[in-house]
Structure formats: structure tokens, C-alpha cells
């Protein structure tokens, strides 16, 4: 693997730029959008009391100064103290990460494990009833808003059929509905993409050659089709993980799942700057790491990418 070091260095550099941009945007947007102090105090707190709290939290300093402090501390992974919880933001946010990973990974694997075979099968049995049914479902999965889907699952699968608990985190049965809800969009996207990627490959000359030389259909699919279709599938699957982090915001709120998505919503409402900044930063890190892993995987799947 020639050139791995420069490749890594370049990647790392880009990642740092991305993190800096993300943090800066969040810093600016949060401060433009409202003031946390009135939300912390009783509604009748006098102005003097608000000023005292602003001073205490360092919110009275000029924005450029606050920004410089913020950048310096972020380098040390110090995101400041949560205004709302009165604890270091990093320790607040990291407490929520396991729940989000549990939900996100379950949704992700559930989606991938169902969607790839379905997409493959749809392509192989193109224009049959099975293909139409599968793609119909996929279309619905992509079109239905997460919020709607979540409530529908609760009313139908939990309240009416009594198969799963309505909300909260606990045993595996608590995980099913939120994972389905969160995974629906991803599942649908992967299935549709797998189908079209496989169809694309099936039209290629080397497939015709493979068939012409008398290979069985199973071998054609396993050895020639799927391996070649895998790269776009992998790309989109990895990118979908970012969608999952975004979807977690809604899903975790609907199912009162104690993860960083719900924490983010709540912290935005509370204008809890340090927690929002820390959450977005960590989410960005996760996204960048996953993309990086995918880049490495390309190399294994496609020898051309190793030198490219």
C-alpha cells in the first residue's frame, strides 16, 4: 500500500478543517439565536439578577473573546460547563453516547442486513411481483417522515398489538420500535441503491461472458456481480450512517430514548451552548471517522483505489 502515510495525513488535515468549520458554524448560530439566561432563572427575575448570571457564565464578554476561548478550550477537548446541568459538557454528552450508539448501530445493521439481500433479490427478479412489492415498501420507507412512522409504530405495534413497550430504554424489546423507525429510511435507500447497482453490473459485458462460459447463476451473482456492485453500495451505506445520526434527533425524542439526539434538541431549546457544541462536535467526529474507515475499505474491495 504505497502512499498510505500521505493519504492519512491529507485525510487528517481535511478532517480538522471540517471540525473547525462545524464548530464555528454551531458557535455562531447558537449565539445568534437566543439567550440562555432568561431560561435558567424564574420568570420574574430582575434584570440585575440576569446580568449577574450572564457575568458568571462569561456571556457578557465580547463575542470574539468568547470565540477565542472556545477554540482554545476545544483543542483541549474542554467544551465548558453545561449551563443547564451545571456539569462539564463533555461528561454530560459522553453519558448519552452509549444509548445513541446502541440505537444507531442496531438500526444500521438491521437496515443493511435486510436491505442488501432485498435489493439484490429485487434486481435478480426484476419486474416480478416480488420486485414491485419490495420497491413499493422501499418507496414508502423513504417517503414517510420519521416522526409519523414512530407514532404509527407506537399506536399499531405497541398499543394495539401489544408487541413492544411504547418508549424508554431497557431490554431488547425497547430497542425494536426505535431501531425500525430510525432504520426505515436507511433500509429503503440501501435497498433501492443495491437494486440499481446490481442491475447496472448485470448489464456489463463480463457478466455476459461469465454466463456464456457456462457459469451457474449463483456463481455469477456471488463472484462477478456482487463484488463489483459493492463499492457504490458501501459508499451509500456509510453515508447513511450520517443520516442515522440526524434521524436520531427525531426518533430519540418520539421514543424518549436517552441519547445525544434528544439531548441536542433539548439543549438547543435551552440554549445550552456548551452541550450543543460538544454534541455537534462529537457527531462530526463520528461521521468523519466512519467516512475514513470506508475510504480504507475501498482499498480492500477495489485494488484500483489503492493507488488512485
Amino acid at each position: 500500500m504505497r502512499g498510505l502515510l500521505p493519504f492519512l495525513a491529507q485525510r487528517l488535515f481535511r478532517a480538522l478543517i471540517a471540525l473547525w468549520l462545524v464548530s464555528t458554524v454551531v458557535f455562531v448560530v447558537m449565539r445568534l439565536s437566543g439567550d440562555p439566561v432568561p431560561l435558567l432563572l424564574p420568570p420574574d427575575a430582575p434584570i440585575s439578577e440576569m446580568e449577574r448570571v450572564r457575568r458568571e457564565l462569561g456571556l457578557d464578554r465580547p463575542l470574539p473573546v468568547q470565540y477565542a476561548v472556545f477554540l482554545r478550550n476545544t483543542l483541549k477537548l474542554d467544551f465548558g460547563r453545561s449551563l443547564h446541568f451545571r456539569q462539564p459538557a463533555f461528561s454530560v454528552v459522553s453519558g448519552y453516547i452509549p444509548a445513541t450508539l446502541e440505537l444507531g448501530l442496531t438500526a444500521f445493521f438491521l437496515a443493511a442486513l435486510v436491505a442488501v439481500p432485498v435489493g439484490l433479490l429485487s434486481a435478480m427478479k426484476r419486474n416480478t411481483l416480488l420486485d414491485h412489492a419490495a420497491m413499493g415498501f422501499a418507496l414508502m420507507g423513504q417517503a414517510a417522515p420519521t416522526f409519523f412512522l414512530g407514532i404509527l409504530f407506537i399506536l399499531l405495534l405497541s398499543l394495539k398489538l401489544d408487541l413492544f413497550p411504547t418508549s424508554g430504554r431497557g431490554s431488547w424489546s425497547n430497542l425494536v420500535l426505535p431501531a425500525l423507525t430510525l432504520g426505515a429510511f436507511t433500509m429503503a435507500s440501501i435497498a433501492r441503491l443495491t437494486r440499481s447497482a446490481v442491475l447496472e453490473v448485470l448489464r456489463a459485458d463480463y457478466i455476459r461472458t461469465a454466463r456464456a462460459k457456462g457459469l451457474g447463476e449463483a456463481l455469477v451473482v456471488a463472484k462477478h456481480t456482487f463484488r463489483n456492485a459493492a463499492i457504490p453500495i458501501l459508499t451509500i451505506t456509510a453515508l447513511q450512517f450520517g443520516t442515522l445520526l440526524g434521524g436520531a434527533v427525531v426518533t430519540e425524542t418520539v421514543f424518549s430514548w436517552p441519547g445525544i439526539g434528544r439531548l441536542a434538541v433539548q439543549s438547543i431549546y435551552n440554549r445550552d451552548y456548551p452541550v450543543v457544541q460538544c454534541t455537534v462536535f462529537l457527531a462530526a467526529v463520528m461521521f468523519i471517522v466512519i467516512n475514513f474507515i470506508v475510504d480504507l475499505l475501498y482499498g480492500f474491495l477495489d485494488p484500483r483505489a489503492r493507488v488512485g
Binding site: 439567550d35 440576569m50 453519558g95 424518549s256
Partner: protein, 514 residues
Amino acid sequence: MELTRRELLKSAAALTAAGTLSQALPGSSQAQTTQKKDLVVAQGGDISKLDPHFSTSSNDIRWSFNIFDNLTSRHPDGKLYPGLALESKLQSQTVWTFKLRQGVKFHNGDPFTSADAKFSIERTYDPNAKTMVATVFTTIDKIEAPDPYSLIIHTKKPDPLLPARLAFYGGQIVPKKYLESVGNDAFNARPVGTGPTRFVSWVKDDRLTLEANPDYWGGKPDFDKLIVRSIPETAPRVAALLKGEVDVITQLPPDQEDRVTANASTRVEGALYAGLYVLAVNSKRPPLDNPLVKQALSLAIDRELIVKELWKGRGVVPSGPIAKGDNFFDPKLPPLAYNPKEARERLKKAGYKGEEVFIETTVAYVSQDKAMSEAIAAMWKDVGVNVKVEVIEYSVRAQKNREKSFKGVFWSDPTSTLGDPDGMMWRLLGPGGPQDYWRESKFDELGAAARFSVDEKFRAEAYAQMTKVFLENFPWLPIIQPYEDYGLQKYVEFTPNPNQQFEIRRFNFKFRRA
């Protein structure tokens, strides 16, 4: 999606028969009694802090009022009862003495004494403690603890409402020794009080677990464990109740009540909110600086219709600035009138020439605010007011509130923290108060005098006069005094508290046993 009662019963019966109930409660879905030992409550928001002096959010104080006790205690009937203080006496105009309960222990075994009471109240306004309730006890001059079971509080001026102040937020008594030894952060993470429930564990945004304090001076509450869950969305919260996963839910909106009532095993219980939902008026902005215009706006609102249609009858039409249930509420005063014809005439008399009147509404800052804004805008248009509705976000509202930069009228839900007009209209509308947009010397003189008078007859007369001035000037347009509703399993006996405390002491909460 609406599930009918019949469908629900059918599916419940079918599933019970099939034996597939995964989360079955003891007994059937029809159970009106229970053998349960654990009480599970779901509220609409997350808990942020358990240290009672660092939060006034209802999602926090519901529980801190049950971990801690106050010196005085306001029961669901709206009256003050002894808490950790057995007796309070007005010794002279500015001196209150309190006789404290003996033999009370904190959850860690430390005895409760006057030193804890003195420490707790002083902590609220100690600049070094940096609490969020620093303004609750501004009337206090100094506190003495002459012996372990006596407390003397000197006020700067006569303060008739000191016992009422002690009953609400800021007044929770914390253990001096324990708090000083572990520090604020550790105390917030593992609070210790004298209340009916003891802290067990807290997983943020998921659940808070408390257990019954077997040695509670008011008797052990009727459960072993109390589990508090946060379910922010209404639909899943109601679903959790209907399915029997939780015993009580808070913040039940009126449009969901039919589902709870229609279900065989659940019911609705409400308390008239200790306060009002009002459109507060920036009376400095023309045309709202003209009292005649404000009178016309009030007359143009069909409050009966709002209560009936938007609130499904779960509220009452206010008669003025004093909430029903408060001191000096006058039951003889008629509800605020609806008279569009008279409204048009007063607008004409005021010389109103179509100037814009803004409603800056939030969405769900107070329940139904946006829907009520739209209804009221339509009613105002009907009498010829040029009304504009603008939607603002919660924290923007907070900022405008701080800067006093509202363009017209805006939603507010003044809570009567003391069960008295002083803690509501005077606290908010008084000079320098957060909603000080209008001044009238007679109103101001009476308000100031009533605040510092211990003569109840004088105060009654003062508030009656202030109500009259209010109804000519409408610094608020009171709209509704709503019910705050809870969904309960039928085997739960519980009377909600009007001021959002969640009272689960012996006198107020019971499981119905077979």
C-alpha cells in the same frame, strides 16, 4: 390515528386470551385496584437538576418537593399547613418566629435542626452560592437560630406572605453538614433531604428512581419505589398510560382527554391552575397605550367559545387579574364580558385608525397558545382591528421578555406562587417587574402598601381597588384559567396540586387495593 375504545378492548381481550401480553400488569386491563408496590410517573420534560435551589422548572421541582420538605407546606386545597415548622407566629410587625418539628432526620441520618433551616434560606440569596432562587427571600433582613428547634426571621419591612414564600420554590430545606462536606455538584447528583422519598438513582433523560422514606414524619407514602420517566412527546406519553406502562402522566392536553376517559382502566384528574393564561400587553406601543383600545380588545374576545372549543371545557373564564382560589378572589365579580358591538364603539371613541396590533405568539410555551392566538386574531378582525399574528421561538420570547421589546401582546402564564395577588399581579406588573409596561399611580400606591401590610382587611380593600383600575387599563388581557390535567390509572387516588407541585405525601396519594 385514533383508536376507539371498542378496538382497544377488543385487541386487549384477544391478546390476553392469547397470553402474549409482554408487559402485563397484575390484573387485567379493567383493574380498578392493584397490588403494585412501585409508582411510575411519566412527565413531559426532562429533569435537569435536583438541587432545589438551582431550578424553578416544574419538571425539577415536582420531585425536589418530594425529596425535601419546606418549613410550611401548601396542600392541594390551596391552604398552608405546617411543614418542618410546627408553628409560625408574627411576633411584631417585622419579626416572625417558627417552632420547628423535633426528631426529624435527613435521609443520611443527620438530625434536622434550626441550623439547617437558617443555612438553607440564607443559601438562596448568598452571592457565593450563586443559586437560581436568589430573589425569593429578598424581604428577609436576618435569621437567628437561638436553639435547635426555634427560628427567628427578621424582615426588612412587614411581610405578610413570609409563610407562603417559605412553602414554594427556594424554601426547600437542605442539610447543612452534608452539603458543606460534599459540595454542590455531588449534592445535586445525590440529594439528601427530609422528604417522603429518598434518592436512589438517576439516569438523565431516562429515569429517576426514588424510594419511600419509611421514617417520614408524615407517614411512609403508599409505595415502595417511585420511578419518574421523561416522555416528551404527548402521543407516546398517552400511549404509555393507556397500555399500563405508567400509572400517572402529567401535562395531558385537552384534545387527548377523550382517549384517556374512553379507555376502561384510566381516568383524568385535574386541578384549576393557580394562575392565569393572559395576553400581556406592551401598553407603551400605540395603539395599545390607549385604555379604550385595550377595553375594546377585551370585549371582542369570546372567551366562552375558546374554553368550549379549544379547551373542551377544561377551564374557566377569568373575572380579572386575581386567579380563582387565591386570597382576595371576588366570586361576585362577573366573568370578563364578550360584546363585539360595544368593542366597535370603544374603538371608534378611541379614534382607532387601523394601526397594527401584533400578537407575538409562541408555540406551546403555554398550552394552546398558537390556536388561541389565531382564534383571537379572527375575533379582533371581526370588530375591525388590524391584527397581525407573528410566531416567535421560545428563547426569542425569553429575550424579548428581558429586553421588554415585544411589539404588541404576548402570551404569559403568570403563576400565583404565593396564593395571593402580591405573588402574581404585583410581582409581575409592579414597578420594575418583568411585565412593567404600564403605570398608574393609584395602582402603584395600593400595591406597594398591600405588600407591606399585615392588616388583612386593608389588603382586601386594596386588591379590590386595584382590580377596578386593572379592568379599566388591561395591562393583561386575561383569557383563561385552565385546568392542569393528569392521566391516571383508575387504581391511583391522587389530587393534583394547583401550583404544579406533585404532592405524593400520605394525605394525597394512595393505591386502591382490592
